[in-house]
Symmetry: C2
Subunit: 247 residues, 2 copies
Amino acid sequence: MTYCVGLKINEGLVFMSDTLTNAGVDNINRNRKMKNWSVRNYRSIVLLTSGNLATSQAAISTINEQIDQSELEDRNILKAPSMFKVAKIVGKILREITSEYTIEGQKSDNQYHSTFILGGQIKGSEPKLFLIYPEGNFIEASDDQPFFQIGETKYGKPIIVRAYDKGLSFGEAIKLLLVSFDSTIKANVSVGLPIDLCTLKGSSFKISNQVRIDQDNKYFKNISENWGSSLKKAIKSLPTFQEDNCS
Amino acid sequence: MTYCVGLKINEGLVFMSDTLTNAGVDNINRNRKMKNWSVRNYRSIVLLTSGNLATSQAAISTINEQIDQSELEDRNILKAPSMFKVAKIVGKILREITSEYTIEGQKSDNQYHSTFILGGQIKGSEPKLFLIYPEGNFIEASDDQPFFQIGETKYGKPIIVRAYDKGLSFGEAIKLLLVSFDSTIKANVSVGLPIDLCTLKGSSFKISNQVRIDQDNKYFKNISENWGSSLKKAIKSLPTFQEDNCS
């Protein structure tokens, strides 16, 4: 499985992904699920992938081929005039790859499906964040839905729902996502370290905080170890149930 | 969907279940998923049900019929000499109902499946907690696995994993489960209030704290409203991510 989150705050975008992939429980590997492209002072694009790894890798290779081979606005994500157009290109590539294997390949239950989170900014426009479905269509983040999760999303959702605020700083947002990832990793063996992280500050057109967090990372260790006791304290601070609370 | 938890602590057993059932998003109802049987000063048994409602109800009706109609130890859960035997009776009933509809009925993807949590105590033995699979076989709770969840289990798992302690009092354990339920309800519309609660104190052979918690319950409101701020405080108490944490 996989766990990836893209989060929109006032300052910009934050992206986080785990690296565990598996084909059955006895075939476990590490793979980077975060990819980015930039044109200095002009645009930055980040893609997070979940689902079938062959489909995700084929999509990224096709995106790269089209960057190299085409100058067309509706083929090359570094030439597209808006993030909406970038999402359309990526969605189209994803749909074509999936349907190729679905129509021509062996019958298989959803096995060729991937879901992507796409974020970025092009000069002259705000940072944008999209969730791209296996069918290639997509939705955009908004104030009502300021983050997208893909993969093993449920364990880590409640903490983001409760603690998200669009005024968070990058440092605070990264901390929040690390807690969400830690909760997921503790509850499900199919999501695992190391974690890849990057941020995109509004109008910087530059990917920052590009870090791989592994089990030796002191900051993550600190968060992971102290979150348990912080949570216990938080629970303790609430009033205990008494039988007369029943009424 | 459904969310039910059975939890074992030193003092005894705690059970909690939501009441929302749905057949499609436009056919939503409330149904009690918690059922209990007692013989004064001798035994108490609690059953939580998830999955296909027809299967769950048929299983409960069959359990009741066999209580009324049979004196046999391997048919009547109020005569069975151990909780292991009670679990075998319930598992057999579940398996027979499921296979009846699976073999004789229309083809359907897992639609006749139910999963149960069964707990209780019979005089002369410790309180026991079981998870009964749709196939009718079952596993028992232990120090390594002191709680079982069924239904929409993922949202509410991390908080239990982190904050569970077998030394919790009943009041603290109920508070913990209410936070877990609140997290789930906030994240997923298929789980909903009211919540049914009951506890079984070791060697009391009596079901206590039998409460239905609805949206007007002041204690739950208090927990739900204050959990958000407690969680934010807990996050705040952790050090913020700095770029030099990357190394």
